[in-house]
């Protein structure tokens, strides 16, 4: 900055002065800062979806179907509530674990392990989407449609297909994103670039998609 030495004010004033100084406001790469801001915006999208769902659940005059029964699987003659959803949730949360490990190996510049863990993450994501497709098929076979279903309020199907569909699109997009980044990791693109920060940025997105699922799980399936 200017030539003369600077003195920072103490206390809260110092915090403000430091934060507004002539440097990057957040000490992170541009891509990472932008991803955080995007995720904040995306949070508002999913919040609006969930708020809309809760609102129509209140406004509808027909009783809401019991999710534990609708989302039950019959295994060995026994009906187990939310079995598939529980497995899907496990798969997605596991994928967050592999993603976190990939980021760690990325910082160690371990090209192969980073790429492998990212491929594993993408594969788990693909498994999740596959199981979601199975769930959709099962419900459609049982007569659940966006405009009505045999179990109760029509909004059940509407909100279900819309919210899980929009989340499923996020997961599918994430799988493609992770695969592209993983291929670049493997062919040494980030070694040449000198930084693996893109792996972490992709990881941020992936963790966000998982976190959103936790909220969908809590508000739609458990409630």
């Amino acid at each position: 900055m200017s030539q003369q030495p600077m003195t920072m004010p103490e206390g809260l004033g110092g915090v403000t002065a430091d934060w507004s100084a002539d440097k990057q406001a957040f000490p992170v790469p541009w891509g990472k800062a932008m991803m955080w801001i995007f995720l904040l915006s995306d949070t508002f999208i999913f919040s609006c979806f969930l708020t809309g769902y809760m609102n129509v659940r209140m406004s509808t005059t027909v009783p809401w179907p019991n999710p534990s029964e609708v989302f039950a699987l019959t295994v060995a003659g026994k009906s187990i509530p939310l079995l598939l959803i529980a497995i899907m949730t496990m798969v997605l949360i596991t994928s967050s674990g592999t993603m976190a490990m990939a980021v760690n190996f990325g910082y160690r510049r371990d090209r192969k392990r980073t790429a492998m863990l990212m491929f594993a993450t993408a594969a788990l994501g693909l498994t999740f989407v596959g199981m979601q497709a199975f769930e959709w098929t099962k419900l459609i076979m049982e007569g659940v449609r966006p405009w009505g279903n045999p179990f109760g309020a029509a909004q059940f199907g509407s909100a279900f297909f819309m919210i899980t569909g929009f989340h499923g699109l996020h997961v599918s997009g994430g799988v493609i994103y992770l695969t592209v980044v993983a291929i670049r990791v493997l062919n040494g693109f980030y070694d040449r670039k000198g930084t693996y920060e893109t792996v972490e940025v992709a990881g941020l997105y992936w963790h966000f998609v998982d976190l959103v699922w936790v909220f969908i799980f809590a508000f739609f399936y458990l409630w």
Binding site: M34, I45, V62, M162
Partner: protein
């Protein structure tokens, strides 16, 4: 890796000067070219909306004269006029146009942080405009649901364009939001991360503060519109009932049931109210810089101005239901939203006082940008004061369906930001083109527009108090509360509207003519302090700053500093014996 000022990473920033015409002007990643692309498309589609408003006024002023304007057309004009003006003209022009042009130049950066995404933002915006225009030609025409698109009527038979038109509108909005998100992420990240050396937050020109805050608002408010567009599309195409309760239409019970039309209104206005400030905050910021530069005085209360912008931005998220008083709500909610609405008047009033105190006893140069800036203060105070009426539940309920509201929002978020747009275009025209516009034509344009808009909107307040309902195609004499004076007023308003619309041709002519025949402007014709006037070339070349990035030593408002040799000190002027040290905000040097 420690991340420090971008100035220290400048060597990483490779500059590939685009060579071919297409790379330079069409598929351009240069923020200045993208800004002009945004502005040209926004003004072009804005002209369509202007013509529509003229057609509406012709119908209202001279009913039964223009047989071509049917009631359906009238509603389609209302809808498209409102949506285009708010979203596709003002939002796109302030953020995509001025945001793109000014942020990197005012902050001393080479470009936006992600130029490729910035380019995509424009092309998505163009696609959104094309889908919107396509809506004019689909069977049934564009939607006539009113710009708020309230369901159930927006998607039920009886409303014009309820099948194809509304889908085009919703699709276009969704694409616009994608475009804005890509642009907005760039604007916010650039301001946060890519300022030049010495450019602390508290040295940023207020234009940047306004555009920066508006971009954040956009990123958080547009999601609500995006979600409601998806839900309404599903209701219309797939047959879901998010927004549709049990409805009987044309004597038949429709298959919908159990949805909530109020949900749409909440989602829409959760977007819609911040949208007002997405348009207003950049105008606030830009007008501050215009007033300060052309009155040769530092902006009064810079810190207060910044905090007022931030306070308005935060408050704008908790006032939305004041648009819904007549939809009915719990009185406690009404009380809450009325209170927050009136509180937002406080920071806004601080800004108005500061603008007036900035030019108070200043060395006011009545240049064209300055005239528009002063005109803005008038129209904004007018529109703001009527806002206080409408913010109160009990006053709003009788006035909400009348022309009082039309007068209010046109004054406060139609005319006011547009005056700033004009002022800003005149102000930065010499930098963008390198030539000066014609001063005389500019002054004619100002006076005709400024007085003309008063001729249009002042009588509307009167109509509103008389109780003349808005969104009516015609007022029959058999409605006994419509007095004959209403018809006279309507004729007067319509004639004024045609006049004001025609005057805009002078503006367009001036822009085009001056581009070829204007006097060369030089690098800094207004003797302004902020960085965009200190570029080595005018118009600035790709990369903006030549070899070295500028270094900032002071805030952007050092006009008439005692002891300085000139009446302005540029932001990048280092302090030495002849020039006093920069005034600083944030860090004490």
């Amino acid at each position: 890796m420690a991340y420090v000022a971008i100035a220290d990473r400048d060597h990483e920033h490779e500059l590939h000067d685009p060579q071919s015409f297409i790379r330079k002007y069409i598929w351009s990643q240069d923020h200045k070219v993208i800004a002009i692309q945004y502005a040209v498309v926004a003004i072009a589609i804005g002209l369509v909306a202007l013509v529509m408003s003229v057609l509406m006024r012709l119908q209202l002023g001279f009913p039964d004269t223009f047989k071509l304007i049917t009631p359906d057309h009238y509603y389609q004009f209302i809808t498209m006029h409102g949506m285009i003006m708010v979203i596709y003209l003002l939002t796109a022009l302030f953020l995509g146009g001025f945001g793109n042009y000014l942020i990197p130049l005012m902050l001393g950066s080479r470009d936006m942080v992600f130029p490729y995404m910035n380019m995509l933002s424009f092309w998505f915006y163009l696609l959104a405009v094309l889908v919107l225009v396509a809506g004019l030609f689909v069977p049934g025409g564009p939607t006539g649901a009113g710009w708020t698109l309230y369901p159930p009527q927006a998607i039920l038979p009886g409303t014009p364009g309820a099948t194809w038109g509304i889908i085009c509108m919703l699709a276009s909005l969704a694409i616009f939001i994608v475009a804005f998100t890509m642009g907005g992420l760039n604007y916010v990240t650039t301001v946060l991360q890519a300022r030049c050396r010495g450019m602390t937050f508290m040295r940023m020109p207020l234009s940047v503060w306004g555009i920066f805050s508006a971009s954040i608002l956009g990123l958080l408010a547009f999601p609500a519109l995006f979600v409601s567009a998806i839900m309404m599309t599903l209701d219309s195409v797939v047959g879901t009932s998010f927004f549709l309760p049990a409805v009987s239409s044309m004597g038949e019970n429709l298959k919908h049931s159990g949805g909530s039309p109020l949900l749409f209104q909440h989602l829409f206005w959760f977007f819609g109210h911040p949208e007002v400030y997405i348009v207003a905050l950049p105008a606030f910021g830009i007008v501050s810089d215009l007033l300060s530069t052309h009155a040769r005085r530092n902006i009064f209360g810079y810190r207060m101005m910044v905090w007022a912008i931030l306070a308005i931005a935060c408050l704008s998220f908790v006032v939305w239901a004041h648009h819904m008083y007549i939809s009915g709500m719990n009185p406690y909610f009404g009380f809450f939203f009325a209170t927050t609405t009136l509180i937002i008047a406080v920071p806004t009033a601080i800004k108005v006082y500061n603008w007036v105190l900035t030019i108070w006893r200043g060395d006011v140069h009545l240049t064209v940008p300055m005239l528009f800036a002063i005109g803005f203060i008038f129209t904004f105070v007018n529109g703001g004061l009527t806002g206080l009426f409408l913010g109160n539940v009990t006053v709003d309920v009788p006035l909400s369906g009348t022309y009082f509201v039309v007068a209010h929002f046109h004054m406060v978020m139609g005319v006011s930001p547009i005056l700033v747009v004009f002022g800003a275009i005149y102000h930065w025209y010499p930098k963008i083109t390198g030539r000066m516009f014609d001063e005389r034509l500019g002054k004619i344009h100002f006076w005709a527009t400024f007085l003309g808009t008063y001729a249009i909107y002042l009588p509307m307040h009167y109509l509103g108090i008389l109780g003349v309902p808005r969104r009516y195609y015609a007022y029959s004499d058999s409605i006994d509360f419509i007095s004959p004076s209403v018809h006279i007023a309507n004729e007067w308003i319509s004639i004024s509207a045609v006049f004001v619309a025609a005057v805009q041709l002078i503006f367009l002519f001036n822009l085009v003519w001056s581009y070829f025949h204007g006097k060369p402007a030089g690098g800094n014709p207004w003797r302004a302090t902020s960085l965009e006037w200190q570029t080595p070339d005018t118009p600035p070349k790709h990369g903006n700053w030549g070899k070295d990035l500028p270094v900032v030593h002071r805030w952007a408002y050092d006009y008439n500093v005692p002891g300085a040799p000139n009446d302005f000190i540029p932001q990048n002027q280092p302090p030495d014996g002849s020039v006093p040290a920069g005034r600083d905000h944030g860090v004490k040097a």
